[in-house]
């Protein structure tokens, strides 16, 4: 995020926006601090949204997402 360059962020990329909507609900239900952002232009020029999260909770997030979805990609920002 613009205001903090020290934090290490990851994004999860989904096959469709419906997946993002479902994943957001799942992760918020687990009280995990995530953020919906547009897919960064350096990753894709397509219009899309993805889920951003801090490195320190990335293991928990990946575990939940991989249990519930297929075809998710993770990128470091």
């Amino acid at each position: 995020m613009n205001c903090n360059t020290d934090t290490l962020y990851f994004v999860a990329l989904f096959p469709s926006v419906s997946h993002v909507m479902k994943a957001e609900k799942l992760l918020i239900a687990e009280n995990l601090p995530i953020k919906i952002i547009p897919v960064p232009k350096i990753i894709s020029s397509d219009c899309g949204v993805c889920i951003r999260f801090n490195f320190d909770i990335s293991d928990r997030i990946k575990l939940i997402l991989d249990q519930n979805f297929e075809g998710i990609e993770y990128r470091q920002l």
């Binding site: 995020m1 613009n2 205001c3 926006v17 993002v20 909507m21 957001e24 995530i34 953020k35 919906i36 952002i37 547009p38 949204v49």
Partner: protein
């Protein structure tokens, strides 16, 4: 002679409208209000118009005294325009906590991405306004608070409809921006060169 406006018992935005009307014909006014929101609204109006502002509280009431800095009553429109032209004159209006109409779940995802994208624009808006369910975006756990704080730190004014916060019962969850009223919101929209309404 000092003009007196008794605005006790009047709902927002009446006190501020009465004050503004009074400022056209008088250079010194006493306004009596019975709530803090009205006090703050009158304060903002007088300060943005370059008037002196002071108040004292007695019981539940506030006695506000305002005085034109130029003894001859100045034209308000002139001083407002100068203040506005300093910044990029685009304002963004969130009248809903969804972006567009159609699927609500999609709309709430889109609006989060939208607010995050505003932080990356070349020129940030001078004001962001929230009303009706849009005020939910300004609440703490909306998921966009860090973006709003960032914009606020860069000089964007954040105006949030107080009536709407009360209606949705989330006044205590909003820690950012200014609780605003119909008059200030319409004035901002009226003075803006561009309005973005996602």
């Amino acid at each position: 002679m000092k003009h007196t406006i008794d605005a006790r018992g009047l709902a927002c935005p009446q006190p501020v409208i009465l004050t503004r009307t009074g400022m056209k014909d008088h250079s010194e006014i006493e306004i009596i209000v019975d709530n803090e929101t009205a006090l703050e609204n009158v304060k903002r109006l007088t300060e943005s118009s370059g008037w002196d502002f002071e108040y004292s509280s007695s019981g539940d009431n506030f006695r506000i005294n305002i005085r034109s800095k130029d003894i001859v009553s100045e034209n308000l429109a002139g001083s407002k325009q100068t203040a506005n032209s300093e910044k990029n004159d685009t304002i963004v209006v969130f009248s809903s906590d969804k972006m567009g109409s159609g699927d609500d779940d999609l709309g709430s995802i889109l609006i989060k991405a939208c607010i995050n994208t505003i932080t990356s624009l070349d020129t940030i808006p001078s004001k962001i306004i929230f009303y009706n369910s849009g005020v939910k975006l300004a609440a703490e756990e909306s998921g966009v608070n860090d973006d709003l704080e960032f914009l606020h730190s860069k000089g964007t004014d954040i105006l949030i409809c107080g009536t709407c916060l009360n209606f949705y019962n989330i006044s205590d969850k909003v820690k950012i921006g200014t609780i605003s009223n119909m008059f200030d919101i319409l004035t901002a929209m009226n003075n803006a060169a561009n309005i973005i309404k996602p």
